[in-house]
Symmetry: D2
Subunit: 337 residues, 4 copies
């Protein structure tokens, strides 16, 4: 349920509302807009069903939320949430770019990539240390060694680190090195891991599952938020369809959907979303035009020898060209790059 | 097969090449670029398999095309094709906008819509006279009466007409009134109709089938082109996926794919592609950013009483706002609106 | 709307009901069960909305149908419909088998196949004379020559003919030779052709579209039935999914769905449904176990040289083995082969 | 790589082959057929690439496996694997039935269900103690209390227990109570959990992911087998498609595919696969006809008050009727129930 306070409600009015709700053991979530405050309420359904708040001083009206997700809902929190990743802000006017190799392979590879992408404006270094691979016989990532390299190189170039966590028992380990914890598509409904991430202090980037609906995705984020971690970033990375020309079908309408239904920011990953190098530039432009807050792009200094996903990685040079092209689009939608 | 002439080939060299191919009953397709001419060759596979052209004067090399589609392929015709719809050019620097109601309902409805969209810059009037409907008991369109209204109103406002043809026996009738013949998603592989359209002089807009692959779509266009009609325009209108939040999943990566594989222009229809009014603006922007040549948008003066697809139609006012917003995006990709 | 007559309603009661409905220009559809008669009513929605039939003598109750399809609905017609194809009955206790090559290629090919399949119990000869092919450069079928061969060979072996019609202008031609008119997956929503088939006297086999929902499929059948042709047979032939191991995903739950929602019979085509020879036998058994009324199986005397779909065709020998295996399954579900 | 021994190879020949492979640090997997032994070889790809075994005494030939999965492949192990679940054998002549409620709710519910299903022939009791739910606010299962109830009731009625494990840290706990460890669709590619299950001594039932290809599914099983646990059972539970009439699209062709590509047994779950009570019986029959080794069916004494999935649960009475009907189908494919 949402309790909408009237524009001229006093501080005292609000306190009384919150006190009443707390007495009933209900959790509240404040969202202070320019002219009114909105109180989101979650907890025991039966108690909420019988709540009568309209007669309290300062309450304009109450709205029942029928969707199962509450905390992620824009109804609950009408204003855009901006997530502060140790100084880099995702969800505001500035488009954030995350770039780097699919998998961390070596110090040289990572350093070469980081230098190149940072000089073009990328602020967050991406790279997989734990790789979820279809076959047990494929390269599974460097593990903690990879995390150390990410941290070391990111610090060297003044960047932040986003990297995937594939098991909840690795949480403490990955938290030690990463600034954003990435949940991969295959783990979007690994609910035990989501619950664990709900207790982390680090922002979580939640990739959309291979065939997850928008509603399932929002509910997966609700698992994290209901655990107490309010810093959730969505990442559209393509869905599975019948089409085989592209690796996945990048669903940019998901950007518009998330912006409509939720207050949380959204990143687009055109590298996994298309699986084709030539499509990364047009889809990056389209993503920003559609309203995405950030991009996540695979860059490899030598894609032809990459240990994974080489044919969807940009070279540093083509990444540079792309960043130049994106400027105009960002401006056209009232943002900066 | 493609015969690539060398930059310094003479006119005589080219004539000899063409003469040789014609003697073998092969069809040729000329594509004259800035510094070299390319000759596309189609016909009996066995004859082509034994062709030896490399030793002829002026021939630089030959390339075998492995894809089944030839005439639609960018290999065959490297430069962008611009289609001239009686003065309105689709595929060039200017983004073309097609707008109008889902179905033609009355003279008033059409006139009110045409005036509104024309004043904002739309050049082509859309509207269905023959409606393919899931149920036989739903409104099937006004038929020829609808075509007459479209022509009358378009002429009144100096616009062109695009409208759907649902059966090849209607070809002559629809040609009499329309400037562009639209093939709907359900008929994308109605091969008999495609063959008939191959003999028309009017441009054809070929919507992507509900679950058509890029390759099937290109081959469907090849049916039209191989019949002799070179004026084919693709239209992405969303594909069918598991997602239910949107009516279809608008696949903007199809824009990038078509631009890479073919020389023909592509339109995006965000109205059918999303089925949600609030998504039309962000998806229109994204479409242009991705490289689309034109947009097709449903506008209805009173969406709440529309006979079909009311909840995916813009009002004239929101259409006006959209057109303003699109300007900046068009500029950012080097085009005009 | 459905008017359910009470078990002890008299013939006169029924006549009065029908008379009243006819006066209102409503169409009626009688379904006489063992102990009661059901009158299906279709026509002007507003008139039906105001109908009050419950007080008429002999009327037990009325039921409003919310689905758009009426005539195909089991609510309208509770008992199974058995379709009589010139003596061969589809929809009853005997499982009917349709077999033959994908495309008619020659008299020898067809005769060899017909002899083989007839001797194992197949009663209907299948074969394409008009082939809808993805590429305009692929073999498009022998046309009328193919129809003549089908008729000649079927008559020779005492079989019936099922063959595809790809354009409504071919209707008279195909009717002359075929016993069942097949609508292919790509034409399931070619509504103009469905309307034309509604006026034919020949049974129509309606294949499910590549990505048609059960509801769209039922509505497509309603187009045929509402035109006056009550002899419609469904054919499940696999739907398009993300899976690439099989050509399509054969959806046997569609058999159960059709049996629940409609009174019309259903055929399963495991050849197109899987695209893999080794899967035809297990899927044929499963289809019958699920309740299918008939099977449609591609058999080619020499699959390795077939002009189309060779790798999904059985040899006459493997077809024979399959027919033997099917006997037990048919018995287990109370049918015969 | 597979080393095929000749029919007259001696024991000594085989020993020499194994010795040579072990010296090279390659792992071997023996499969002894009626007339020849097959040695599967996995390990360092470069070493295998240079292996020359054909000249060794007793070796008939070697075959290179191009698929990434090895141990699950039928090439590696041509005969059907029968998995012994503490006396109940899955994969042999007898069809095994697993039945029980979706979620364990109480001792009474479980006991009432177990008694009913056991008396009809079900040998394995199913029931979720840890439930993966889309929303964090839905019933998440009774946890260890549920496991205890399952064990208690199963022992009471002489049944085995299959139940889901949702996190690898629960492995020891679930192993204490369950006879088969179920991996749910959402965790099919939770590779860390699969690796942990590879070290368990208990059989694992691996459900197919919501949009997993056959190949991804086989590779997921390879994760478990390559960890050392050879007792893997596949479970087809429906895939996600565009169709909304059913909860999922039950893909029975997956049964035929698994039987062709792998030696491991496969279970079909028509309850989740269709989500509709009326479809469970026809799909159960079809599954057995297609070659399934076992069925997994939701039964609830009072489906109308079930805490989850009530509308896809059979009542004990309808379960009894189903078991009777399945007898004939089992016989028709040479099995018993």
């Amino acid at each position: 349920m949402i309790v909408v306070m009237s524009p001229n409600a006093t501080k005292k009015n609000l306190e009384n509302v919150l006190k009443k709700l707390e007495k009933l053991n209900l959790r509240t979530h404040l969202s202070e807009g320019e002219d009114r405050t909105i109180v989101g309420v979650i907890g025991d359904k039966k108690i909420i069903a019988n709540l009568e708040m309209e007669m309290m001083a300062g309450v304009e009206k109450t709205v029942r939320i029928t969707e199962k997700y509450k905390l992620v809902s824009r109804d609950f929190h009408p204003l855009d949430t901006i997530i502060d990743v140790d100084g880099v802000k995702i969800g505001g006017e500035k488009i954030v770019v995350m770039a780097g190799p699919c998998a961390v392979e070596s110090l040289e590879q990572l350093r070469e990539t980081a230098q190149a992408v940072k000089s073009c404006g990328a602020e967050i270094l991406r790279g997989g240390a734990f790789k979820p691979r279809t076959s047990p016989y494929d390269f599974q990532g460097l593990g903690e060694e990879g995390l150390k390299l990410l941290r070391k190189v990111a610090d060297e170039f003044g960047m932040k680190v986003v990297t995937e966590i594939v098991d909840r028992s690795d949480l403490e380990l990955v938290e030690n090195y990463a600034d954003i914890l990435q949940v991969g598509a295959r783990n979007m409904q690994n609910f035990q891991m989501l619950k664990a991430l709900g207790e982390s202090k680090k922002p979580v980037m939640l990739k959309r599952g291979l065939s997850a609906t928008i509603s399932e995705w929002l509910n997966a984020a609700e698992y994290i938020m209901s655990g107490g971690n309010e810093n959730v970033i969505f990442c559209e990375r393509g869905i599975r369809t019948y089409e085989t020309f592209t690796r996945n079908t990048l669903d940019l309408s998901a950007v518009a959907a998330i912006k409509e239904l939720s207050h949380l920011p959204i990143v687009v990953d055109p590298s996994h979303g298309t699986g084709r190098r030539t499509m990364i530039a047009p889809m990056s432009k389209a993503a920003i035009a559609a309203g995405a807050d950030a991009l996540m792009i695979e860059v490899h200094p030598h894609p032809e020898v990459a240990l994974s996903d080489g044919n969807q990685s940009l070279t540093p040079e083509s990444f540079k060209n792309l960043m130049n092209d994106l400027n105009g689009i960002a401006k056209a939608v009232g943002k900066t790059l």
